[in-house]
């Protein structure tokens, strides 16, 4: 049987729509992979084969539907979304006992678009963690090398998509959690403009920063899933002919880069120039400041959300998460409000400076390659601790401002780990990101690589 899992959604659509491939055939193949490879990566919190096959057969019985753009495509989403059938476990339990959420409109829109949910994917405890560790379910393993982390907090989303266990996954991003794991696992991770995808039906971490996002193996697939997940009938153009002016930051995003990431960044600049885009140096304003204020918002809001839950369910909180949340209890209300108030002026200043000279900017997605789990365990070592705390350095400013940003896989390191680059655009600029990213994606696909776990 053809290895359907190696194909993209865009490639599979004609065969699904014509009936050459049935939803049942595709789902059975994906389930077999998820059940055989998923456990070695610890990518799933649950796999639901009976329900998935039932949905697939029902779709086949009704027949392909041209109005359902993702008809017959198996997916699995981060375990912080509620569906009509289940409440989320949030990375701490099979079902969080206090979760009482309405079904996520994103999941409903994807179901209406014809997708088949095969289970739920693993995540960091309450979506709080940048590495992929989880004290309750075990660490999620990087498909390129299981000794290395996936990044987090949408760890299972990135691992499952990279290994070909699902075609797409909805994750959430509160500072890095879609883009950074996507970069470390070699997939596309899009955090759209703040508000594009609703937070309704999603267990929150930080109300003013949380933003659902989409992980896929290609940019075209990503646009297709994002448009379907929004459920507004939008068709975001992914245009290979579009030529853009791309800003190259001269500071902040160039800090702390590992040599291989710095080298890949320079290669990416040349790749985009060769593709016909105009690359211009741009100044970055207030990167560190945005990161600081992001921290104030996230800790205050997480503290407000989890204060009572932490008392009621202390067993759900590993010590690092507990410390993070408790620190927010000491933030003064006026400081929290000012961190919210500063967002508008900072957005204006960023658009008047950095983004006034270009259509979007190119940055590294993470300053380092994926970290080894053995080093993460040894966080008492100052170098390791710094590498962990800086994982979100490049991704947090876009979250604070609410700008769309995506990580696109570009190349592989000498040690066999993927390196992704980040594209950030002004509000609503998803089409710019998808179009510019095509040149980076072409370089990645030209390497013709699959992770060892696949």
């Amino acid at each position: 049987m053809a290895q359907l899992w190696t194909q993209s959604i865009t490639e599979l659509r004609p065969a699904l729509q014509s009936g050459d491939i049935t939803a049942e055939t595709l789902t059975a193949q994906i389930l077999e992979r998820a059940q055989s490879i998923g456990p070695t990566l610890n990518a799933f919190t649950a796999i639901t084969p009976d329900a998935a096959m039932q949905t697939a057969r029902a779709l086949d019985h009704a027949g392909p539907c041209a109005e359902a753009p993702l008809w017959g495509i198996p997916m699995a989403h981060k375990d912080n979304f509620a569906s009509a059938l289940r409440q989320p476990g949030c990375g701490v339990a099979a079902v969080h006992p206090a979760a009482d959420l309405s079904p996520s409109p994103i999941l409903q829109a994807l179901e209406a678009a014809g997708t088949i949910e095969i289970g739920t994917v693993s995540m960091a405890e309450f979506a709080l963690g940048t590495t992929g560790t989880n004290a309750h379910f075990g660490d999620c393993r990087n498909p390129w090398n299981p000794d290395y982390c996936t990044g987090g907090s949408s760890s299972g989303s990135a691992a499952a998509v990279a290994a070909g266990l699902v075609f797409a996954s909805i994750g959430t991003d509160t500072g890095a959690s879609v883009r950074m794991p996507a970069a470390l696992c070699g997939v596309v991770g899009m955090m759209p403009t703040r508000g594009s995808l609703t937070n309704e039906g999603c267990f929150p971490l930080s109300w003013s920063l949380d933003q659902p996002g989409v992980l896929t193996r290609s940019l075209r697939d990503n646009a297709l899933v994002l448009d379907s997940a929004e459920g507004r009938g939008r068709v975001t153009p992914v245009d290979p002919e579009r030529r853009l002016t791309i800003g190259v930051p001269q500071s902040y995003y160039t800090d702390y880069l590992a040599p291989e990431v710095a080298s890949a960044y320079q290669d990416a600049i040349r790749t985009l120039e060769r593709a016909g885009h105009k690359l211009v140096p741009v100044a970055v304003v207030e990167g560190e400041e945005m990161r600081s204020l992001h921290r104030v918002l996230m800790r205050s809001e997480a503290s407000a959300l989890h204060g009572k839950l932490m008392r009621d369910y202390p067993e759900h909180y590993d010590l690092p998460v507990r410390k993070f949340i408790v620190s927010g209890e000491a933030v003064a209300a006026v400081d929290y409000i000012d961190a919210l108030r500063a967002r508008g002026p900072m957005l204006r200043r960023a658009l008047d400076t950095t983004y006034s000279q270009c259509d979007l900017i190119l940055t590294p997605a993470a300053p380092t390659l994926a970290l080894r789990y053995a080093d993460i365990r040894d966080a008492g070592n100052r170098d390791n601790w710094l590498r962990i705390t800086r994982l979100a350095h490049c991704t947090q400013p876009a979250t604070y401002l609410g700008l769309p940003a995506a990580s696109v896989p570009f190349t592989i390191s000498d040690s066999g780990l993927p390196i992704g680059l980040q594209l950030i655009a002004p509000p609503g600029g998803e089409a710019r990101i998808y179009s510019a990213g095509l040149a980076l994606e072409a370089h990645w696909q030209g390497l013709n690589l699959w992770p060892q776990a696949a």
Binding site: R299, S327, A339
Partner: protein, 67 residues
């Protein structure tokens, strides 16, 4: 431990009784992180204007959309 950290440590001990029972070094670390958060907002307060309300940010995000 500086004065700010000491004050915040006492505040955390009062506000989160279960946490107050944790080892002293954990409390100290957390107080240090809380002090860092407090210091991080101070420099930006001076530049904020009367119209810089949180809802203004959401309005701008919509108004400044591009294609």
């Amino acid at each position: 431990m500086d004065k700010t950290q000491d004050i915040l440590k006492q505040l955390l001990q009062q506000r989160v009784p279960a946490f107050a029972e944790m080892p002293a070094n954990v409390l100290d670390d957390t107080a240090a992180e809380a002090a860092m958060l407090t210091r991080q907002v101070q420099p930006y307060r001076q530049g904020l204007g009367i119209s810089d309300a949180p809802f203004d940010y959401e309005t701008q995000l919509q108004r400044l959309r591009v294609a």
